[in-house]
């Protein structure tokens, strides 16, 4: 195997950019939703829960199509974004990041919610008796204790984003340098004669990226878990 070509670099860079932004942008919302689902009681909670999980069970193409309807330049949200802020997400890398974030969202929420449910809420009330207001309790007790869940959730969402295909191609198409992420590039090469070798090279890169992410998160989760359990990492 020779050095990577500029096109390949482009696809890798774009994939990482889209996935990382998708993860980063959805994290705060995922924490909030996970807190709601783990702690709050409100009418319609099971419906809310189902809606959050929808991207997990719907065909990705359907999710992409809904995104196009809502966020496209003529869609209700997309049109408003363009007229108010001059922001367009359809057929842009930002749109790809949104598609990735939406597809990874249920996985992220699930992981975070699970870790919230395992923490002992009595430790939080201990913090309250020591003078901490709810925001401080969240920042100094809850958040550090759910760190392993946060990392797991981010990894799952990141991995899901790296592999995202259906929603992306439906929502933002496959534009080289803008929305053509690794899976789209691989698919593209398989559709042209003589593209097999390129498709294989990119596939290997995808394997390496995913494995790398998995290993890094494994180490981080182990360290975070040790810290939360009170052992010296």
């Amino acid at each position: 195997m020779t050095m990577l070509t500029p096109d390949e670099w482009e696809a890798i860079r774009l994939s990482l950019q889209v996935s990382l932004w998708g993860v980063a942008a959805s994290l705060p919302l995922a924490v909030a939703v996970a807190m709601l689902l783990a702690r709050a009681r409100f009418p319609g909670k099971s419906v809310f829960d189902a809606v959050v999980h929808l991207p997990l069970v719907l065909p990705p193409v359907v999710v992409g199509y809904f995104l196009l309807l809502l966020l496209g330049r003529k869609g209700p949200i997309g049109g408003w974004l363009e007229s108010t802020f001059g922001v367009v997400v359809a057929f842009r890398w930002t749109g790809a990041a949104i598609a990735a974030a939406v597809m990874g969202f249920p996985l992220m929420v699930r992981a975070i919610r699970l870790s919230i449910e395992t923490i002992d809420a009595r430790i939080e009330s201990a913090a309250a008796t020591l003078g901490a207001n709810p925001a401080w309790v969240f920042a100094t007790v809850t958040l550090p204790l759910i760190l392993p869940g946060l990392i797991t959730g981010m990894l799952l969402s990141f991995a899901r984003s790296l592999g995202e295909f259906g929603a992306t191609i439906t929502f933002v198409s496959s534009i080289p340098g803008e929305t053509r992420t690794l899976p789209l590039a691989i698919y593209g090469y398989t559709q042209v004669p003589g593209g097999d070798l390129q498709a294989l090279r990119l596939s290997i890169i995808a394997v390496v990226l995913s494995l790398g992410a998995l290993l890094v998160s494994e180490v981080m989760v182990r360290r975070a878990t040790a810290r939360v359990a009170g052992r010296d990492a």
């Binding site: 009595r122 913090a127 309250a128 008796t129 020591l130 003078g131 901490a132 939360v228 009170g230």
Partner: protein, 362 residues
């Protein structure tokens, strides 16, 4: 200094408790499920009762009638939980300083070095809670509560999860705290031994109600409260002063209002004030002064009260000088001897029944 009145319903559990106290250590005593922890949670602000009033050092923390509700974080009520509840992700030092960070500078009176020294936790500072033993965890939990400079310290069965050796270790530190920090404490327990060692006043709780409140010896001597103070452990508590040690035989003589008691295995210094618990089952009664007997404590007094005569056992209260002893006898003996209020009698107590577990520093 402390005023509590609470009415609260939680499912089928009803709590109706009220008491006041102005002493260093107030014990909340009762069986598990009596509502002790709920009372403490209300004082701390972790439970908002249906009706209630809580005043600490003149500060109204809760008054439902006047819609006063100070949230837990603003109460400055130190709380030592049964299970410690240390922050697992922080070091001991960070745990200790957690509450201090939130205490307004003007209200801070506790100093890290002082608290660390008091509780002997200096070697633990850089460790994490998982690396601590049960006793160490509780000491850190006490230190953490103290360093928030609380108005009052609540200890909810802090010894419950510890083995016997660790228990007396923590008791020692709580005593030290009481004597050196001068901070009022509410101490929850279902162990009479701990009350005898620590508390001046006790509140007796049963089925969600505060049944009695008063000085420990007074409450412990009341025959009508026996079902609630516990059958096996029940007995009188009296204040005494160490009069002398017989080093040859290891016998300590304690002087109290009404006579002297000889006991074994007590290491208090002559002149020290102690509190002795004499279990009712360790006391016998004789109508005449017995001779040729091994029991070293023969106390002349008068029968003051004969308890309810149901079942095989009867509790009898004997007044010796100004203090009361309780004796648990068979109903048969009470009938055979014709024991009745007003009769002179001798209370007999074995010295070996009074050991270090029955004696606490007042």
């Amino acid at each position: 200094m402390l005023e509590v009145a609470i009415r609260h319903r939680q499912g089928s559990f009803r709590l109706d408790a009220s008491f006041a106290s102005d002493v260093a250590v107030t014990a909340l005593f009762g069986k598990s499920g009596a509502g002790k922890t709920t009372v403490v949670n209300v004082i701390a602000g972790l439970i908002r009762p249906d009706e209630g009033r809580v005043v600490v050092n003149g500060q109204v923390l809760l008054d439902t009638a006047r819609r006063v509700w100070v949230p837990a974080r603003q109460r400055r009520v130190g709380y030592v939980f049964q299970e410690g509840r240390l922050f697992p992700h922080l070091t001991v030092r960070q745990n200790l300083l957690y509450g201090r960070f939130f205490t307004p500078a003007a209200d801070r009176y506790a100093v890290l070095d002082q608290v660390v020294g008091l509780l002997d936790i200096a070697p633990l500072l850089e460790r994490r809670p998982a690396a601590l033993s049960g006793g160490e965890k509780q000491r850190v939990a006490i230190g953490r509560a103290l360093l928030a400079s609380p108005r009052i310290l609540l200890l909810d069965e802090p010894l419950a999860s510890l083995d016997p050796g660790r228990k007396s270790e923590i008791l020692f530190y709580v005593e030290r705290l009481r004597d050196e920090m001068r901070i009022p404490m509410v101490y929850v327990t279902h162990e009479i031994e701990e009350i005898v060692r620590l508390a001046e006043r006790m509140v007796l709780m049963s089925d969600g109600r505060s049944v009695a409140c008063g000085p420990v010896p007074e409450i412990m001597a009341r025959l009508d409260l026996k079902p609630m103070t516990g059958r096996f452990e029940g007995g009188a508590v009296l204040d005494a002063v160490v009069a002398a040690h017989d080093l040859d035989y290891g016998i300590t003589t304690l002087a109290f209002d009404g006579g002297e008691l000889q006991c074994t295995g007590v290491d208090a210094l002559p002149g020290e004030r102690v509190r002795v618990r004499i279990r009712a089952r360790d006391v016998a009664i004789s109508l005449e002064r017995p001779t040729g007997i091994s029991m070293r404590n023969v106390l002349a007094g008068r029968i003051a009260e004969v308890g309810a005569q149901r079942g095989p056992e009867v509790d009898v209260r004997i007044e010796i000088g100004r203090v009361s002893l309780l004796a648990r006898l068979t109903r048969r003996s009470v009938d055979d001897l014709g024991l009745a209020a007003g009769r002179p009698a001798y209370a007999l107590v074995k010295s070996v029944a009074l050991d270090h577990r029955s004696v606490g520093y007042a």
